[in-house]
């Protein structure tokens, strides 16, 4: 399968805020939010990017959409390097790749009517006005919302969270993109409406043949919508494989702890202690070698000396661990 989105050695470094001591010493600490990520997403493929807060998953999503510029590495979209796009090419890319925001209550301008919210991307893309109605109608149908006539004049605060999140999704789909990045698309919603949005995401995946990156800390959600999953830890991808396999037989010690930590809505579940030590280390000074080593129960001397590469281990799986 030809990749639609392809990132090579992607890195993003941010200058961290400094303490007074660091200012006096003239130190300029840097956070390696994303530190060498390789990934590819095929046309029509839904990939989950899983990790805890601060692991760099949101930054990765923003890099792929060209919302922040990488410090190193390259991103290709449909063969074109994003860094070399001219103005016209960039405008075209903006139409083909869209972001679905996390918090539907913040993502919509409170002073725009729903009709205007949905038309805005079309206006920005300079599409002829005659097409607007039809495109909006199609997008609403995809997210299973009734036709606009019933609430087009309403303002965002008059709609419920579930409806708003569907509007946010419809706004991203109104330009018929080929790629979307959805950053925690349901984390702000109540459980009873969350399932509805997840089902819409699945339908959109199946009917539009959309390539999608779902960023989430919730493995159960990723499992529900994504065929493939990438697990991130402190700025790097530690595991990549079919979601089913990552859930059933996680290979990286971090993924193992992560899978075990996910609570299930049943009484008969394991209460065993998690195979993980301590807390997430300071992202400004990650450990040498394997970044997970000081929390890994299996770590050995080699893990401190040598950084494990994300290597192919067969059956479409990749792992960054010396002992797999």
């Amino acid at each position: 399968m030809a990749a639609l989105v392809e990132a090579r050695d992607l890195a993003k470094h941010f200058t961290a805020s400094r303490s007074i001591g660091e200012m006096l010493r003239g130190a300029r600490p840097v956070v390696h939010a994303v530190d060498g990520v390789d990934l590819s997403i095929a046309r029509g493929e839904s990939v989950g990017l899983l990790g805890e807060s601060g692991c760099g998953k949101t930054t990765t999503g923003r890099l792929l959409l060209d919302l922040v510029r990488p410090s190193a590495g390259s991103i290709r979209f449909d063969g074109d390097d994003l860094a070399t796009l001219d103005r016209k090419g960039r405008a075209r890319f903006r139409r083909r790749a869209q972001l679905v925001f996390q918090n539907p209550f913040d993502a919509l301008n409170p002073r725009f009517t729903i009709a205007r919210v949905l038309a805005e991307p079309l206006v920005n893309a300079k599409l002829p006005r005659v097409e607007h109605g039809e495109r909006i109608a199609r997008a609403l149908e995809r997210v299973r919302l009734p036709p606009l006539a019933r609430y087009g004049d309403a303002y965002p605060h008059q709609l419920s969270g579930g409806q708003l999140q569907r509007i946010v999704l419809a706004r991203a789909l109104v330009l018929d993109p080929e790629f979307i990045v959805a950053d925690e698309p349901v984390s702000m919603l109540d459980v009873s409406v969350r399932a509805g949005v997840l089902n819409v995401l699945r339908e959109v995946r199946d009917t539009m043949g959309l390539a999608a990156l779902y960023i989430s800390h919730d493995l159960a959600l990723v499992r529900y919508v994504c065929a493939r999953t990438l697990v991130m830890y402190l700025g790097i991808v530690v595991e990549d494989g079919p979601t089913v396999d990552v859930v059933r037989t996680p290979l990286h010690p971090y993924s193992r702890a992560l899978v075990m930590a996910v609570p299930v809505p049943r009484v008969d579940q394991s209460h065993a202690k998690l195979p993980i030590i301590g807390n997430v280390p300071d992202a400004r000074n990650p450990p040498s070698g394997c970044r997970f080593r000081d929390r890994c129960p299996q770590a050995q001397a080699r893990c401190a000396a040598e950084t494990p590469a994300l290597r192919d281990v067969g059956q479409q799986r990749r792992v960054a661990c010396h002992f797999v």
């Binding site: 009873s192 089902n199 159960a220 996910v262 998690l274």
Partner: protein, 336 residues
């Protein structure tokens, strides 16, 4: 079973300029001594209001027009502010959702623990210092960190510190409001493990307010499911989660993705909860319920026993088994 807490027909109203919001409207449940009770429901169902009413810390516009909260024999609703204050922390402790709400950012964490022990617990400074170290150890924190300020702690550590603070005076009842919601999965699990272990070791009685059924399944012995200000189902966790008898509980359990059981489609409950300014007559859930009969819209269903300790309020409770099967189908919940 001896009950540490019995909430009976509790009503909590909020005065607003639009009128009286009946946030809790006739809720009854109890907490057996030494067990963890999960209070579940969605935003606005009244679970936090009910929990706050028990601690006696409510906003100015809140009132309890009706109902009783019996704690260890005393009806808390009859207490004056002073006797309530004496009870709080010593007998009933509270762990808020965001630990930053219980920790003062300008004092060292250890200092705050000692303060509680000295001022409320009447211990000496020296004894307090030692006890603070013990408490830190109890929740799995290094005693060195007592000298740190809250901002130097990670989210999970803060939540542990908040738990230590709540346990400082060995209360009889701990009420935790979404104690792990803001945490990452791994940290969440670690904090839940601390809660479980402490609960078993100290034989604590607890109320855990949460929207997350998985959290309930992991730590709670009993569940109380709330909807629109009322309790719709209560019972032992296993019984309620495996054989839910109220359609709302059925919908809720089927809306949760389960990591180990794959594929099956999730169901969502269309519509919104009713406006609590003017709650509808009959069953509050009727408007969203796929199984509602004409009667459900008019007459409120009584609380009915299903099996030992398991109750639900639904007119079609005798058909629960067949409704459960139908509730698993997405089509059941879809409305034209």
């Amino acid at each position: 079973m001896a009950m540490i807490l019995e909430v009976e027909n509790l009503h909590v109203h909020y005065r607003t300029n639009r009128g009286n919001v009946r946030a809790v409207d006739g809720a009854s449940f109890s907490v057996p001594r030494g067990s963890v009770v999960g209070l579940v429901g969605e935003s606005g169902c009244g679970k936090t209001t009910a929990a706050r009413a028990i601690t006696g810390v409510m906003t100015r516009n809140a009132s309890i027009p009706e109902g009783a909260i019996r704690f260890d024999g005393t009806d808390l609703t009859t207490l004056d502010a002073r006797s309530y204050a004496a009870l709080r922390w010593r007998d009933i402790a509270f762990v808020p959702q965001s630990a930053m709400n219980s920790l003062d950012p300008v004092y060292r964490v250890g200092k705050q623990l000692e303060e509680v022990l000295v001022v409320r617990g009447g211990s000496t400074r020296r004894a307090a210092r030692q006890r603070a170290a013990e408490l830190f150890e109890l929740v799995g924190l290094d005693a060195h960190r007592l000298r740190d300020y809250p901002h130097q702690f990670s989210g999970g550590m803060r939540q542990r510190a908040a738990i230590a603070l709540a346990l400082a005076l060995t209360p009889k009842l701990v009420i935790a409001d979404e104690p792990v919601t803001a945490l990452d999965v791994i940290v969440q699990r670690q904090v839940l493990d601390v809660v479980r272990e402490l609960q078993q070791r100290l034989n604590l009685s607890m109320i855990l307010v949460t929207h997350d059924i998985s959290v309930v399944a992991y730590v709670c012995d009993q569940v109380v499911v709330m909807y629109a200000g009322q309790v719709v189902e209560t019972g032992p966790t296993g019984s309620v989660l495996e054989r839910p008898a109220h359609p709302y509980t059925m919908g809720l359990t089927n809306a949760f993705p389960d990591l180990e059981r794959s594929s099956g489609q999730l169901t969502s409950i269309d519509g919104d909860p009713p406006d609590l300014l003017t709650p509808p007559p009959g069953c509050r859930f009727a408007a969203r319920c796929p199984f509602a009969l004409a009667r459900c819209h008019v007459e409120a269903p009584p609380r009915t026993a299903i099996e030992a300790g398991h109750h639900a309020s639904c007119w079609r409770i005798d058909e629960a088994a067949s409704l459960r099967d139908q509730a698993r189908e997405v089509a059941t919940w879809q409305r034209s």
